[in-house]
């Protein structure tokens, strides 16, 4: 059986690294609404809603990060989260 595809995720603030590693999904909120990033997602660039929450579902745990603002980029299953800028 083949292993499930995973995202490569980096979630950082200027002075803090929240998470670096693999994840099943990343959930965040932008102007349009709440969205999930799963493996195979189209290339994506968005501004995260102020005072919202980012959820990273990893193999071991669910990481909840409260953010004052942020940017999310997705390219080739690599998710970069620039938070609290």
């Amino acid at each position: 059986m083949s292993e499930a595809k995973l995202l490569t995720v980096q979630a950082r603030a200027p002075f803090e690294v929240y998470y670096v590693g693999n994840a099943y999904t990343v959930t965040a909120t932008n102007k349009v609404g709440k969205f999930d990033i799963l493996p195979g997602h189209a290339d994506f660039f968005s501004i995260i809603d102020p005072d919202s929450e980012v959820i990273i579902q990893t193999e071991k745990e669910e990481i909840n990060i409260k953010v004052s603002n942020g940017i999310i980029t997705v390219k080739d299953d690599t998710v970069l989260l620039f938070l609290n800028i």
Partner: protein, 286 residues
């Protein structure tokens, strides 16, 4: 010569000062290590952000021109000082450097830190904006400052630079040039993200504007961090000097104490001898 009890009391007080300065010295030293780590982390963050920014725009330098839409024809100096004292003479040097370059006809001053603001007022200089210095180990939100400098033609930042634990200098940077300097360590992205293959929410231009503000904030945050680092180092030096002086004083008081005790003993001995001689004389005379 002073009395033994007075010297003993002074000596105990100085020993307390010595202990306190040791504690402050350790605290400043720990803070320096912590902030250095944060500066490094912030640079890594900036490099990643820059890489993404250049993937949006091939002409990544052109945005610098677009910032002057609201140009009011004036320059602004941002002076980053300390929130409190105990940081040696470094804030004084900072204020003197700012005032040497300052021309009220063409320039406004925005000051960060209560200590610097007080020193400016004492010298009769007027500032248009004041912000408290964010604590270096908490999130540095500089967005109100970035918002207030948007209308200026040139933004110069004056802050205290950490050269080494023993040396701190006053540094002046042009904020835009500083952003360009910060990109030197970062790689431009070879993967361009265009609207044909990438979903942008909101539009590409809006995202680019937000990223530009973010990079401006980061450059300013780094200056604030570095200034905090220099102040901690300066505080460390001031405390180290105070500790050294306290140790010298403790040594001096110990010597003075022993001399005083010895003088007391000598005086008593002399009195006993005089008394004995007097008795001996009285015995002979009798």
């Amino acid at each position: 010569m002073r009395r033994v009890n007075d010297i003993k009391k002074d000596s105990q007080e100085i020993e307390t000062v010595e202990s306190l300065t040791s504690v402050f010295e350790s605290l400043a030293s720990t803070q320096v290590a912590k902030v250095k780590n944060k500066v490094q982390m912030s640079q890594e963050f900036f490099n990643l952000l820059w890489e993404k920014y250049t993937s949006l725009r091939v002409d990544s330098d052109s945005w610098l021109m677009s910032r002057h839409k609201e140009d009011n024809g004036r320059d602004v100096y941002i002076m980053i000082s300390a929130e409190a004292g105990l940081s040696g003479d470094i804030d004084l040097r900072l204020v003197e450097t700012v005032l040497r370059d300052y021309d009220p006809k063409t320039t406004d001053i925005i000051v960060l830190g209560t200590h610097g603001a007080q020193q400016l007022l004492q010298r009769g200089a007027h500032y248009v904006g004041f912000y408290k210095v964010p604590l270096t180990d908490t999130y540095v939100d500089v967005s109100p400052i970035v918002e207030s400098i948007r209308k200026y033609r040139h933004v110069k930042v004056y802050f205290e630079e950490y050269v080494s634990l023993g040396v701190q200098d006053i540094k002046t940077i042009d904020l835009i040039q500083q952003i360009q300097a910060m990109t030197k360590g970062a790689e431009d992205s070879s993967q361009v993200m265009s609207t044909s293959e990438t979903i942008f929410e909101p539009s590409l231009d809006e995202i680019a504007d937000i990223m530009e503000d973010a990079m401006m904030s980061l450059a300013l945050s780094q200056a604030i961090l570095e200034s905090g680092l220099a102040q901690d180092a300066s505080r460390f030096n001031a405390m180290a000097a105070a500790k050294k002086r306290a140790m010298e004083l403790v040594g001096f008081y110990k010597l003075e104490y022993h001399r005083s005790v010895r003088a007391d003993n000598d005086r008593r001995m002399r009195e006993v001898m005089i008394s004995l001689k007097r008795k001996e004389r009285m015995r002979v005379n009798a």
